[in-house]
Amino acid sequence: MSHGTANPAVATVTEPLTMVDAINLALAHEMAADERVVVLGEDVGVDGGVFRVTKGLQERFGKARVVDTPLAEDAIVGAGLGLSLGGMRPVCEIQFSGFLHQAFAQMQSHAGRMRSRTRGQRGLHFVVRSPSGGGIKALEHHSESEEMLYVHTPGIKVVMPSGPRTAYGLLRASIREGDPVLFLEPKGVYRAFREPVLPDEVLELGKARVVKPGKDLTLVTYGAMLRTSVGAVEEAEAKLSASIEVIDLLTLAPYDADLVRASVEKTGRCVVVHEAVKSGGLGAEISARLNEECFWSLRAPVARVTGWDIPYPLYAREKAFLPDAERIVAAIVATLTAE
């Protein structure tokens, strides 16, 4: 990892964990370190959450700190805000990010505004965790990628890890941040692979990382698409004997525009990959920013490989919706060969 850690002298690593377990561990570590941290949400207690992310936490930290709430997202987020204002450090779970819509008013009109409304007097230690994204043959509303609704909402930080290690380090940072953080978990890779995590690593929000350096093109992505993209990049590099730099954004708002710009100033070409629908997606913002900030370095149009501008289909057709290696390779080829 190219980005700094809060504790550079990290020595121990865990055995390889899935992302689910890494998040669980991050929660456990924060709860152990700070008794103001409480976990609340639907089915987070006895059941350990529908994805088992909070498994065992209630047993360990008690029913007062790991709380099964009524089925009411506006109240989970709204009461979470109240908890935070009252001095606690709530970590709210919304079962699927598509159901955060039910709490959208709380996110937009309160979470993102409490600090500015009070002229800085009432900051929020406040995290909403929610699984996001597709590719798991789920039911309707369980596969969408809605990060832009919050990226476009001032006052909220949006974080999306791409694997177990970043999930661990970013969640710990998010709980400590002191600003409202929406922590989106790419459920497509919840259990896709294992990685050791560094039990003291607290990553800095707002910093992207260069997963793999390269000279000819910059691929920018995040979440589950990192894995798909890395595969595609290997393929494309083999095919074209080109060298591609891969950037994992990690924080989507505010995203690390400086790192992206520096990379594209070097490579002159950029492909952005995300699952969210194209129009108004993060790819648009990145493309626009590159256009503004390093127009004269661009040697080809910034390409976007994204979900289409349609509702996420039921699962039989989800492969037709989601970006995959084939599409990413095609975009890389087109961008590398554009004249």
């Binding site: 089915d43 006895v46 350990g48 088992r52 009411a72 039911l139 501008d309 039989a316 037709a320």
Partner: protein, 398 residues
């Protein structure tokens, strides 16, 4: 009068046929035997279909779904008390209701295999059924609106919304019921209190002693019924529909029942439910209760039961095969672009072309051509894994 009590309309509890087969003849609704047998048959067909779906889901032949087992009396009782012109607004656990309204089992399988095709009805004007709606609580406002449309058109139709005990905590349910109360709409809000919202017990949802009493907040009629009692449900819904058609407004019904099976196939109730609870409810199975009644009335016997079950199983198998044939046939994956707007805008047409070029000849329909018995399908990495990684991984039917 410094400290006085505010008078509050009573909330009633209704039960007609108890678990021992004892029936209150005064309250027993007059249902013609033919209709009664169709009601029973629908309950059995639903049960057989879901048992088959649970098996097939575990074998990787279809995706996850939410079984209604144990709630058949709620749904068939309610729908049978209504008319064809009345609107059905389901959540995600309303198979018996859908079957009563004539949903083909093939569509049920198609939906579970991830095809929007499964939501189609024969004639959208005549088949007054909304598609499955998964966001908990979303049904109440839609039903209020449908009831309102019917009031404006004066067509005498009623709208019924189904939702669960958990849904009563959602703001949207409150808003819909309050709307219907304030506007005196011909709506029926039917809460199947099956004791659980996934792993969350009824007790955690709300401190109110009953769910039915929430009607007091809206100034609408409130009734609690034994939801495993086909006749109590039928009567409560008949009375609610009559009130609605007379212009007397909405009713909130709490049907006390029990989710016999898993929340969805991704769930494992053993994590959060006790055996004692399962025992306590076992004897109250709504299907068995009706069969006993029919037998006592001389309307049913073992041979008829056997024939019914055999016919249901045949129907299930044929429907499954038809759904598989559809899935494995010439399905257009890019049809998803065609039903977003009335007329597909130029930009989406271009995206459709891009998608076509990129897919090329690849087969991208998930599940197509899948071996019928590939085990553990849905548990593979990258597929839906709400379940634990504990031994009881797939949280099968109980």
């Amino acid at each position: 009068m410094p400290r006085t009590s505010i008078p509050i309309d009573p909330i009633h509890h209704l039960s007609v046929l108890d678990e021992h087969g004892k029936v209150d003849r005064k309250l027993l609704p007059a249902i013609p035997p033919e209709k009664l047998l169709r009601m029973y048959a629908t309950m059995v067909r639903s049960r057989r279909l879901e048992e088959s779906m649970l098996r097939r889901q575990r074998q990787g032949q279809m995706g996850t779904f939410a079984p209604a087992m144990g709630q058949e009396a709620c749904q068939v009782g309610a729908m049978a008390a209504l008319e064809e012109r009345d609107w059905l607004v389901p959540s995600f656990r309303e198979l018996p209701a859908a079957l009563w309204r004539g949903a083909p089992m093939k569509n049920v399988f198609l939906y579970a295999m991830g095809f929007e095709e499964g939501s189609e009805v024969g004639d959208p004007d005549r088949d007054r059924v909304l598609p499955i709606s998964i966001p908990v609580g979303s049904q109440a406002c839609h039903a209020a609106g449908l009831a309102w449309a019917s009031k404006l058109k004066g067509d005498g139709a009623v709208a019924i919304a189904f939702f669960g005990d958990g849904a009563t905590s959602e703001g949207a349910v409150h808003e819909g019921m309050n709307f219907a109360g304030a506007m005196t709409l011909p709506a029926i809000f039917f809460c199947q209190n099956n004791q659980w919202a996934i792993s969350t017990p009824r007790r955690i949802q709300t401190a109110s002693a009953t769910i039915a009493q929430k009607a007091v907040a809206y100034g609408i009629a409130g009734v609690q019924v034994d939801g495993n009692d086909l006749f109590a449900v039928y009567r409560a819904v008949s009375e609610a529909a009559e009130r609605a058609r007379k212009g007397e407004g909405a009713t909130f019904i709490e049907a006390v029942t029990w989710r016999k099976s898993v929340h969805t196939t991704a769930d494992d109730p053993r994590v959060y439910r006790t055996e004692a609870e399962e025992k306590a409810w076992e004897g109250k199975d709504p299907v068995v209760r009706v069969r006993r009644f029919l037998e006592a009335e001389g309307l049913w016997d073992a041979a008829k039961e056997e024939a019914l079950v055999a016919a249901a199983d045949r129907e299930v198998n044929e429907a499954f095969d038809a759904a598989v044939a559809y899935r494995d046939g010439d399905v257009d994956p890019l049809e998803i672009f065609d039903h977003v707007f009335k007329t597909t805008p130029p930009d989406l047409l271009r995206q459709r072309e891009q998608a076509r070029a990129w897919i090329g000849g690849r087969r991208v329909i998930i599940g197509a051509g899948k071996a019928k018995t590939k085990p553990g399908g849905a548990a593979a990495v990258g597929e839906l894994e709400e379940a634990d990684d504990a031994p009881s991984k797939k949280g099968g039917a109980r």
